[in-house]
Each structure stands twice: as C-alpha cells, then as structure tokens.
Amino acid sequence: MLLMSVILILQETLEAAMLVSILAAVTLQAGRHLSWLPWGFAGGCIMAFVYAANIQRISEWFDFVGQELTNAALQATIAAAIVLLAWRISRIYATGDAAAVAPGRHGSMFQVLCALIIGLAVTREGSEILVYLGGFLAQSDKSQAVLTGSAIGFGIGLSVGLLLFHGLLALGDKRWIPFALLGLFCGNMLAQSALQLTQADWLQPGPTLWDSSAWLSEHSVIGRLLYALLGYEANPSTAQVIGYLTGAAAVLAAALAPTRSVAKA
C-alpha cells in the first residue's frame, strides 16, 4: 500500500517538480522574478480540485474519452506555451540583458506563460493525486500507509526538484541549457498528448518503433526518473515519437528564429 502510494505520488510530483525547477532556473537566468510561481501553483491547485471533483462527468464526455481528450488538450496547451516561452526567452537574450531587466509588457508575458504552464501541469498531476488520495482516505484502515507513502513520494519529488533547480543554477549562464530542457519537456508533453489521443482512438498510433524495456525498464527507478525528465518510453508508438520530435523541433525553431532575424538585420 505504502509502496504504491509512493510510486503514484512520486510519479505525479516528480513531473511537476521538475517542470517548476526548470522554469524557475530559466526565470532566474533570464533575470526575471519568480512571481509566477505562487499564482500558477494556486491556480493549478484550484483547477485540480475542480477537475478532480468533476472527473466522473468529464470522463463521460465524447463517449467516455473526455478525460483523455482533456488531458491531451492540457498537455498540448502546455507544449504550445513552452514553445512561446522559448521564443520569449530567445527574444530576451537577443535584445540584450538590459531589456530583460526592465519590467514591462514583455516581462508580464513571460510571467503569464510560466504561470500558465505550471497551472496546467499542476491541474493535471494534482487532479490525479486528489482522486487517488480521495479514494483511499475514505478507507480509514489504509489511510496511515497511504499518507505515509504520499509524504515519502512527495518528499522525494520535491527534493529531486530542489536539487535539480540548484544543479541547473550551478551550471551557470549557459544559454543552450534552458532551450534544451524546454525542448525535452515540450517533446515529452506532445508525446504524452499523442498517447492520450491514441488512447481515445482519435489518433492512429502507428507501429511501435523500438522496445528497450529489457535494457531499461520504465518501471525501474532510473526509468521513472527518465520518464519524468525526458519522457522516456521503452516501446513508443510512431505517433508518440512524431509528437516528441515535433515538440522538440518547435522549441528549437523558437530558440533560433529571432537570432536569425537579428543576424539578417
């Protein structure tokens, strides 16, 4: 019971914690404030509660694939926001650090994008946690194990996030790092979105491209970490791989676009 709680909570927490760490490190390296964090988190919690409370009704939409479609939409929106954010950051770098420090319209767009990404991520992950905990806490005899497991899972996720954040900051002002991380995350989101659409049968999965489960299982600790960080999939479908590559390429394009226009000018 405890182990299951740990695994479930950890899986959800780890993804959100890593996203928060990456965005926070990127924010500080771009010379911005972390004011998006409380707003995004609070908004995400409220949305997660609403989603969790109505999970039954949402599941019934579109012939009972409402949940998949909602998740796919959330993930696709996160991916789109990450692409916009990458473009925003490359603009900040291109226009120079002086403009980055000055608050203004562009500064608020940066904050809104970050808050949106975190809000949507917390909505998705948080709703799953709430649904899980809500189900188990009704059984009083298991609540202690579930709560302990949740605390351990949450603690591990939070610790990994904090260490990742400080690790990213310690790497210093290397500008390709934010883009690389955002690219991986964006790819991850689109791959998951493709998976959800495949699950809802709105998308044909295509043939499975490879199977590396013997080499690195998704259920191993490293496999789980890589899944949360890079979206590692031991046997991905074509749709997932295409989604992943599309997301990563979009971030790369956003990162390079303004640089090229500046170079032209």
């Binding site: 019971m1 405890l2 182990l3 740990v6 500080l28 005899d141 202690q144 194990a145 302990t148 605390a151 351990i152 603690g155 591990i156 939070l158 610790s159 990994v160 904090l162 260490l163 400080h166 900051l169």
Partner: protein
C-alpha cells in the same frame, strides 16, 4: 535564492530528505520481504501441524480462523477442509508456494506432502491481512523519523544560521563603517575562512589611508607649485604691457589664457578642498544675508563688465556654516549666472527663511537648463552643450559640482527651477536655519546695515553708492597669494576691503599707492577701508611673501 543560508538549508534538507526517503523505501521493501518469508514459513509450519492432527481436530483448532483456509487431499479425494475453503483444490499438489483467488480474497498458498499418510495438505492465508500486519509493524518504525524530518529541518536552519554568524557580523561591521573611517576592522578572532577577508580588508584600508594622505600632500604641493608660476606670469605680463614691448592683442590673448588657467587650477583645488574627507569646516553662526551681500559686492565688476543688472533682496537669516565654504558657494553660483546670462540680462539674489529653512535663490535671465539635464549639471566636468555652449564662455565644468558638495556639507539641498524672468534658471539652496538657542546665545556677526525689511538693491551699472554703507570687497590670502589678484572698485567711492588670511602664517598687506599697511595674522581676517579714489590702478602686495603675494586695485 541569493541567500547563502536559504541555499544551504534547502540543498542540505533536500539531500537529506531524498536519501532518507529512498532509504526508508528500501527498508520498507526489505522488511516486507522478510515479513513475507516469515509468513511463508509460518504457513508451512501450519501445514505440518495439520498433517499431525486428525481432520476433526484440525477443523476445531483452525477452522474458525477467517484469515486461514486449508484442504487435506488424498489423491483426488478431499478428506477435510476449512469452512472458508472451496471444494476445488486451492493449490496444485506440488511442494512450494503460490497465489490463489477464492472466497472473494487473494490468498498465499502452499502444499505439503504428508509422507506418513500420503496426503497433500494445502494451506492458504489472506495476502491483504498478512501485508497489513507487516505494514503496520514497519510503519510504526517509519513514522517517528518521518515526523522528525521537520525537526531536522529546523535544526539545520538554526545550525546554518549560527554557522554564518561570523560572516553576518563582519558584513554588519563593514556596513556600519563611515566613509572616512579607515581604521582596521575590529573583528578579533575571525574564523579561518574569514581571516583572509579581514586581513585583505585591513590591508586595503591601510593602503587607502596612505594613498589619501599622499593625495592630500600632493594637492597641497600642487596648489603651491601651480599658483606661484601663474602669479609670476601675471606679474610679468603686467610688466610686459607697461613696457609696451609686445602687441596689445597678443598680450590680451595671453592674459585671457593665463586667467583661464588660473581659474581651472582654483576650481580643481576648491573641489578637492570641499571633498568630505578633506573638508575641515569651522562652523560658526553667521548671517547668510550679510555674507551674500559681501560676496555680491566683491563680484560686481564681472556683472558690470557685461552690463547686467544684479539685484539683492534679503533679510537676516542665521545659519551654522563655514564662512569660506559659503563664500565659495555664492561666488560659484554668481559666476555661473554671470557667465550664462547674456549681456544686459538680469540676475536676482534673494535670501529668505521659512520655518526651519533658509533659502538662498540665485535667478538669472539666461537661456535656462533643459529639464533632462537637471541632474547632470552637478556632475564634475559636465557642461551643457559641451564646449560648444552658445554663450561662448570658457569654464571647466566644476563650479556646480563644488556648489553641490558645499551644500551637502552644510546638510542642505540644492535644486533648480525656472526663474521668475522670461527665461533662465533659479538655483535654490535650502540650508537648515540656526535657532538662537542652538547657537549657544552667540549672535552671528550680523551686518548692522541689514534689517528685516531691508531690500537692498545694488545697481552696479550706475555704481550708485550704497545707502547702507560702503561696498565690501573681499580679498583672500591663500598659499601666499591674493584672491582675486585684481579687484575693481567704483571711482570716488569708499570701499571696505575685507581681507582674509587663510594661511596659517601671518601676512602683511602693503600698498604704496594706496598708502595702506596692515598685518593680518594666520587664519584670521581684517578690514581695510580704501577710497574714495580717482580712476587708476593701485598695486598692493604681501610684505611677508612679496614674490607671490601681488595684487592690485583697479578704480574705474
């Protein structure tokens, strides 16, 4: 995240939590495995026990345990079974452990072959019950450490805070240091990590002090070394012009250049003297109005030359100030107004007080200062429009920087505003008013001539004699030189020469032409009345330092 403390606490706590949680998880897993092994052993023991009993006995002893089920098979025949067991075999007739689902639960099963009777004894217990039992035991051991984590966090916070205390103390000591305090840091026994910082800081302070002393010495030497040749140059120029050995226009150009050089040297030295770590102020209670009037009288020739109308309105206002510094301040403001106000313009100087503030305003009808340059004009070497200023005036851009510093030294405030004229700037200097009690009962040397309602108008164009008394012309002796070396006074007017000896050494004012002679001791001042005189030039000199102390009075 700029705090070392927050960084240390979060990273240490995150690392501890991560390792602790992973360790707890591993401990849980191995404890659960060990518990499973024990439960399996117990299950097998139960099977052996059943084998040793008769079927009826077994039913009586174990049949009512809801968490346990058993069957005794002989071949394909079911000899005995517990009430919760089905009639089909719950496990294969093969030694070992397995799982089976029946009666709405998941069971752990084992088979034991009783060789004596040739029976297969199949025993099962509920997995949910055994894991719950094991989990409860393990949780009991996990919980205290889980609850202890926040306590660990608090302890880490306290330890880190305590560990960073020497650094914080050092930062506090550095922050509380006055800008002119160059004494070594007092931190006695710094930690080894901070020792180098303290030693380096103290070395730096020591070097700074030495270099400041050297700079002070240099400025004093430079002043002397620069002024002496300039004064000599002026004397030689004067002699040259008298003997008519050079072209007059060449001479006049040369004279202008020398004047400019002298002005720049003066201004740089004034700026240097007014820097906070050099300024050695002797604050006294004085009447700003009277002082302003004195300075105005001394500066009148320059306004006269440009046919500008200089007006003064003032009421007695006592402030605590340094006479020399305030004179320099006024002179710089007036010189500024004189330079940048066109020929025939107006300059108005007012001194008034409101509440605890004494306000000195110098207004001109010049071109004014663009608003965006309002803050820059007090910067050193800043000149509006650079050197291409349309007034065509030369300057080194130090005057207002000096003024700002002197205002700061008097804990005052300077601001600029549009003047009351059609165009131009008003420089407003606000200084704190000195209350009579605060002055310790001493009254300032308030001019007898200025009364509260007096509005004094000095019209230098017409050189009207002052109703209130003779105009005052101030001459300073500094480094054995007269400043200014040439004063211009109106003809047929009695003039009060206020001579200040700023040198520590005494000097004797002497003039054969003026027929005056007076000793002025070091760091003091005196008054010599001259005139009324006909137009002409009247040289004077300092008898103690005649080589440098040369000056003249020009009567026009």
């Amino acid at each position: 995240m700029n705090s070392i403390r927050v960084f240390l606490v979060t990273v240490i706590l995150a690392t501890i939590a991560l390792f602790y949680f992973v360790a707890a998880l591993r401990g849980y897993q191995s404890s659960m495995q060990e518990a499973e092994r024990l439960f399996d052993k117990q299950l097998l023991d139960t099977a052996r026990l059943i084998a040793s009993l008769h079927a009826e006995q077994a039913n009586n002893e174990l049949g009512h345990d809801a968490g346990m089920a058993f069957q005794v098979w002989q071949g394909e025949r079911l000899l005995a079974f517990s009430r919760n067991a089905p009639t089909t075999a719950i496990a294969p007739h093969r030694s070992g452990f397995g799982f089976a689902n029946f009666a709405g639960y998941r069971w752990r099963t084992t088979a034991y072959f009783d060789a004596a009777n040739g029976d297969w004894i199949l025993v099962a217990d509920r997995t949910d019950l055994r894991s719950a039992l094991a989990e409860n035991v393990i949780l009991e051991s996990l919980l205290p450490t889980l609850i202890g984590l926040p306590v660990v966090g608090l302890l880490i916070w306290l330890i880190v805070t305590g560990g960073l205390r020497p650094l914080r103390m050092l930062a506090k000591e550095l922050a509380s240091k006055q800008p002119d305090d160059l004494t070594p840091l007092a931190t006695k026994t710094p930690k080894r990590e901070l020792e180098q910082i303290v030693v380096s800081c103290n070395g730096l302070l020591q070097r700074l002090e030495t270099s400041l002393l050297r700079e002070k010495q240099f400025a004093s030497d430079a002043a002397h070394e620069l002024r002496t040749p300039i004064s000599a140059l002026k004397v030689q120029l004067y002699n040259l012009s008298r003997e008519g050995m050079a072209e007059p226009h060449l001479l006049s150009e040369l004279e202008q250049t020398v004047h400019r050089l002298k002005h720049s040297v003066e201004q740089i030295l004034d700026l240097y003297r007014s820097s906070p770590d050099q300024f050695n102020a002797t604050f006294e209670a004085l009447d700003l109005s009277a002082l302003a009037r004195d300075v105005l009288a001394g500066e009148c020739t320059a306004f006269d030359r440009k046919q500008q109308q200089l007006e003064f309105r003032g009421q007695p206002c006592t402030i605590a100030g340094d006479r020399f510094a305030l004179t320099t301040l006024l002179r710089n403001l007036l010189s500024n107004a004189n330079k940048y106000t066109p020929r025939g313009g107006q300059v108005l100087v007012t001194v008034g007080q409101k509440d605890d503030i004494v306000r000195l305003t110098v207004e001109d009808s010049g071109p004014g200062i663009p608003a965006e340059q309002g803050d820059l004009i007090f910067e050193r070497f800043f000149r509006i429009g650079q050197d291409r200023h349309e007034s065509g005036e030369t300057g080194c851009g130090l005057g207002l920087a000096i003024v700002k510093r002197l205002v700061d030294l008097h804990r005052g405030h300077i601001s600029i505003a549009p003047s009351r004229f059609a165009s131009g700037t008003a420089f407003q200097v606000d200084l704190p008013r000195l209350r009579r009690q605060a002055a310790g009962g001493t009254t300032a040397p308030v001019s007898k001539l200025a009364s509260k309602s007096t509005s004094l108008l000095i019209l230098l164009l017409s050189a009207t004699p002052l109703q209130a008394g003779p105009p005052i012309v101030e001459i300073e002796i500094r480094d054995h030189l007269f400043f200014p070396p040439e004063v211009v006074i109106p003809a047929n007017t009695k003039v009060k020469l206020l001579i200040k000896n700023l040198d520590p050494t005494p000097e004797e004012f002497e003039s054969y032409e003026l027929n005056r002679e007076k000793v002025i001791s070091g760091n003091s001042q005196t008054v010599i009345f001259i005139g009324p005189l006909p137009a002409g030039e009247y040289p004077f000199f300092g008898e103690f330092y005649p080589k440098t102390a040369q000056g003249k009075v020009r009567v026009e």
